[in-house]
Amino acid sequence: MLSYLLKRLAIGLVTLFVASLVVFAVLEVVPGDPARLMLGMGASEDAIAALRDQMGLNQPLALRYLSWAGHMLIGDFGRSYTYGVPVRELIAERIAVSLPLAVMALLLSMAVAIPVGLFSAARRGRASDMAVMGVTQLGVAIPNFWFALLLVYVFAVTLRLVPAGGFPGWSAGPGPAFQALILPALALALPQAAILARVTRSALIETLSEDYIRTARAKGLTRSAVLYRHALRNAMIPVLTILGLQFAFLLAGTIIIENVFYLPGLGRLVFQAITQRDLIVVEGLVMLLVATIILVNLVVDLLYAAVDPRLRSPR
């Protein structure tokens, strides 16, 4: 188990290294000069050249990569071209929005999906199961940004229960902050919940046809006891896989959703930084997201082991 984890960790690090090369190389060819963008239409050429010098854009490519990657190893993501502040600070500010949002969405989707999956699996084939699965089928088909628009239309524009967008900041207190995150979290969570509910249901049904379920039934356990005590934990394995994948989807989803709701999170930052050609921020952010996904996969591997003793110990 330990050597397996070390191997996964090593693979993760290599992936991260290759990713850093790819990200750097890719962003180097992005057209557009950040210095010119900052100074705008009226700027003179020598002012732009002076700014490029200040920003270190005139150094050779390899040198810039080495300095960038080297600094990143010690946790220094560099300084934003446009904001002039350390990228780390920018990320820290934005993550305070994105992380709660992603976590809220993840928890929300689990809180909806797993009970629904259990409900449906327990009533497999009955009308209630069919109805629930029909709804989830619909949920899977709904693009989250459209769902977000509908939520805005209903809850913000028509009913005016919550703000349609924007983020008052955590300094405004948890109440308004959470209020601003409710709709985005819902928009992210429900389509994901639909997928998760379907996976949970089919994993449970798959598990329910296993021999050991019959063993448990032969012990005298009732249907529901078998479902909760035996099927659920075994069904968690495919559910975990999907949860891991979903986290990556949620991160990507926040890019769109933060744009819909205008939340100052990582998703907006990356979009904004790309349009502003603040490449150092983009590079740092992409690496952060890639590292997060690798880390999440590693955590999922660990959770597999927690759920499944076969992965914990050799035979």
Partner: protein, 276 residues
């Protein structure tokens, strides 16, 4: 298994019907739309649905129904080509990885990990940042992320199949690995791949809509569902029909494909087939 038997599967029948209807709409749009989808009539802008414009008009006075019809071409074409790229490159890679094993397998799977480690949307944004937004780049961006999906499915299915005795029998009959892959493995995993293709197709439609929504997909005057939603967003307070119908078009199309995929999974399941 005949089509008639397959159609008794409600999910397959409904999915097929919706998918065919969407495809037919796309084809019809080449020959006929209620209005010219790109014809502006600014005096007639933002009209609610009526007998004249069934789904209303947009902020330029264009007919939304016509735009949705023409937009379906765009969605279908992008998703189709992206699936083609993914399947065309991913399946051979997956089969090769499974059949050859060793360093090839290891390398391909690590590359897969690499692609999976990038949130697809983020990479799409970067790709379009370099090459500029447009249909072609949207296809490439979505297609690249289909490759590892197909490679993984093909590899997994092939690996479990390669353990079957008839593969050993074929080897005892002197067939080479690559020949076995083509003659025995591919036909046996085709079902799985077809089902995966419908799933990726529907994901492709969603991805295209997402990219277009962010302005990274096809460009005007070609209508696209995602961009229609983007444009509707600021007008949702007084012209909700602009947001409603393109969204419904996406939902219905994706729903149809998902139902078709689910139905195909059951219809093509060899376990169910062999009982017949």
């Amino acid at each position: 298994m005949t089509i008639g038997q397959a159609l008794r599967n409600p999910s397959f029948a409904a999915g097929l019907a919706i998918t065919l209807a969407v495809a037919a709409t796309a084809l019809l749009s080449f020959a006929w739309t209620p209005y010219d989808a790109s014809a502006m009539d600014i005096a007639a802008k933002l009209q609610a649905p009526s007998a004249v414009h069934w789904l209303g008009t947009d902020h330029f006075g264009r007919d939304i129904l016509s735009m949705i019809m023409v937009g379906s071409r765009n969605s279908i074409a992008v998703a189709l080509v992206a699936v083609g790229i993914g399947a065309g490159l991913g399946i051979p890679l997956g089969l090769a990885a499974a059949a050859r094993g060793g360093w090839l397998d290891e390398t391909l799977m690590r590359l897969n990990d690499l692609v999976f480690a990038f949130p697809a949307l983020l990479s799409a944004i970067m790709i379009t940042a370099i090459f500029g937004p447009g249909v072609f780049n949207a296809i490439v961006a979505i297609g690249i992320f289909n490759i590892p999906v197909f490679a993984r499915v093909a590899r997994g299915a092939a690996l479990s199949l390669l353990r079957r005795e008839f593969i050993l029998a074929a080897r005892a009959a002197g067939k080479s690995r690559s020949r076995i892959a083509v003659e025995h493995v591919l036909p046996n995993i085709a079902n799985l791949l077809i089902v995966q293709a419908t799933i990726q197709f529907s994901l492709g439609i969603l991805a295209e809509a997402g990219l277009s929504y962010l302005g990274l997909g096809s460009q005007p005057p070609m209508p696209s569902w995602g961009r229609m939603l983007f444009e509707a967003q600021t007008m949702i307070g007084f012209a909700p029909h602009m947001a409603l119908f393109p969204g419904l078009a996406i939902v219905v199309t994706v729903l149809g494909l998902n139902l078709l995929g689910d139905g195909l999974r059951d219809v093509l399941d060899p376990r169910l087939q062999e009982q017949r």
